[in-house]
């Protein structure tokens, strides 16, 4: 095992209408999904549970893929915006989750690919904002995780794991890691406390919203380790670890490290490679305290009495991973794993010497540098609205208004993914997971697909009285290598299904 595994990122975007804080966010989120989907020729809000007397469809709960072209003005009061819910040709899901538009990336197999399809997601949101701006005042979207007034919304990571791994091992080794991980991966926030009752800056957008160590909830009493068990795959073999504690990242390096280091820690847990028990005393309290100290000097106390900083605790994990990889591969690492290990060490070295040195790699550092610049130049206090406004505007998805994007365009960040790669991933699926089959079916046979979900595609083929469901419970099947030629020679869905049936019969 390496950093490579089946993984993905889901992001709920902040949403607002300029000058209209009372606008209905569910309706707006529906408009966001619809604006993008209709431009792709997909009807977003489909009254599709009418299909439900077909037995196959009941199994395919989740999302709906409509047929035919939609009129862009079609999202009206008669459509329930909470049904806006589509699958895109890149294998992702774009839909309304609670009161936010959400992009769930397709399944990928490397942290770098996760960054590519995450960046694609922001481009999709940006395109929707551009379309909606044609009718002022438009709708703005923010890739962040809190409004600073007490509300938080998530950026979740998903990792496919072996079912046989005891969940108690995951909890034991992951909680200390997550307490510390924020210093590499936090996105920075103005305000301390869920509702920002204390003025100041903290490392993470999300940390203050975490109240328990382990649990099932995701919208209240949020747990450091979430127990949701919905594998979207063969349940006897796989678990999907649903990680809800991370911030939305703009920096490629921080995003790569978020996925890559976590995947490595999980690989060591699966391999029972942890000799050390790094259990942290009072993890929830410590999580908050670490976030509240941008000097990165806050002391974490382990159960065995060791006292160390978050950076030092992350060095412990790095050391364990390094030794384990040496044992497994004798230094012959695949490129993805070598990249993650290199960036991991480099970022920890910088954070250790002076956190401000990581401004090209880590979101919270870059944000703090700008905020501190305004404080110094204009003599502002942390309670100043201008600093709060910068915090929000930092994550605006528009290239001209989003402060991160302005600075990125000026070359102020390390970039691991090119604009061309991200653009390509807006339309194209990853080639090495079942997302390839899903995305390519949607691209090739859009009129013959009734619905799709993570683990199935449902076809509605002319001449057949019932819908036909193709299950995809193995995330690594349906790759370009295995189904590419079949898709190439199948002129329509009927031909595809005929061949699939004869192959399995």
């Amino acid at each position: 095992m390496t950093v490579r595994r089946v993984m993905g990122i889901e992001t709920e975007y902040g949403i607002s209408v300029p000058g209209d804080p009372a606008a209905n966010p569910m309706l707006l989120s529906g408009q966001v999904v619809h604006a993008y989907a209709s431009a792709q020729g997909i009807r977003a809000a489909h009254a599709s549970w009418d299909y439900a007397d077909e037995a196959p469809l009941r199994d395919a709960r989740g999302f709906e893929m409509g047929r035919g072209m939609a009129d862009p003005s079609q999202l009206t009061d008669e459509d329930d915006p909470s049904l806006a819910n589509v699958v895109l040709t890149n294998g992702s899901r774009l839909y309304v989750d609670h009161a936010h538009p959400e992009y769930s990336s397709p399944e990928v197999t490397s942290p770098r690919a996760a960054v590519v399809w995450d960046r694609a997601g922001e481009l999709i949101m940006r395109e929707s904002v551009r379309r909606l701006s044609q009718v002022p005042p438009g709708v703005n979207l923010y890739k962040n995780n809190t409004d600073g007034k007490g509300a938080s919304y998530g950026t979740h990571e998903n990792y496919l794991m072996r079912r046989e791994t005891p969940f108690s091992d995951i909890v034991r080794h992951l909680i200390p890691f997550f307490v510390a991980r924020q210093v590499m991966c936090g996105s920075g926030r103005v305000g301390i406390g869920q509702d920002s009752r204390t003025a100041g800056f903290q490392i993470s957008q999300r940390s203050d919203f975490f109240e328990v160590e382990v649990g099932l909830e995701t919208t209240l009493k949020r747990p450091i380790v979430n127990t949701r068990d919905e594998p979207h795959a063969v349940a006897d073999l796989y678990r999907r670890l649903h990680v809800i504690i991370g911030d939305a990242n703009h920096c490629d390096v921080a995003n790569l490290l978020k996925l890559g280091t976590t995947s490595l820690v999980l690989a060591m847990i699966e391999d029972r490679a942890f000799e050390d028990d790094l259990t942290v005393n009072r993890p929830v309290h410590t999580l908050h305290q670490v976030s509240h100290d941008p000097t990165c000097q806050e002391i974490i106390e382990l159960r065995d009495g060791t006292r160390l900083t978050a950076v030092q605790l992350l060095w412990r994990y790095h050391e364990l991973a390094d030794r384990w990889l040496q044992d497994q591969y004798a230094g012959e690492l695949d490129e993805d794993t070598a990249d993650v290990m290199r960036w991991w060490a480099l970022v920890l070295e910088r954070l250790e010497r002076d956190p401000m040195e990581a401004a090209r790699e880590v979101d919270w550092v870059a944000k703090l540098k700008v905020l501190q610049g305004y404080i110094d130049r204009d003599g502002l206090e942390w309670s100043d609205h201008r600093l709060k406004a910068i915090d929000i505007q930092w994550s605006d998805v528009r290239p001209d208004k989003g402060l991160f994007h302005r600075l990125r365009a000026a070359g102020r960040f390390e970039e691991l993914v090119t604009d061309d790669e991200a653009l390509h991933a807006v339309h194209e699926p990853p080639t090495d997971t079942r997302a390839y089959f899903r995305g390519m079916c949607l691209a090739k046979y859009p009129d013959q697909i009734a619905a799709a979900s993570w683990d199935s595609v449902i076809f509605d083929v002319p001449g057949h009285s019932s819908l036909q469901r193709v299950p995809m419970l193995e995330p690594l099947r349906g790759t370009k290598e295995s189904v590419g030629p079949l898709l190439d020679r199948s002129v329509d869905a009927a031909a595809l299904l005929r061949e699939l049936a004869s192959a399995s019969g």
């Binding site: 609670h98 409004d147 009495g305 006292r307 609205h385 001209d400 600075l407």
Partner: protein, 68 residues
């Protein structure tokens, strides 16, 4: 217990371990810091022009419903 002090991680062989790390005034670090300082003015220049003009109203208007 060896100590209640902060424990330092060991370095791998590829890290330069002779110079007792973190010496905040190491040449590389201070050079980097100077660059950061002279850099910040141009960063602020880049974003001054696009900041929301009425910060208070903008902040007040950014109200979200909780999500997952």
């Amino acid at each position: 217990m060896p100590s209640q002090e902060q424990s330092r991680p060991q370095r791998r062989e590829d890290a330069p371990d002779e110079a007792p790390e973190p010496t905040p005034a190491s040449p590389e670090a201070s050079a980097r810091k100077e660059n950061l300082d002279s850099d910040i003015d141009s960063v602020l220049d880049e974003i001054d022009g696009v900041l929301e003009s009425n910060a208070e109203e903008f902040v007040r208007g950014f109200v979200q419903k909780g999500g997952q």
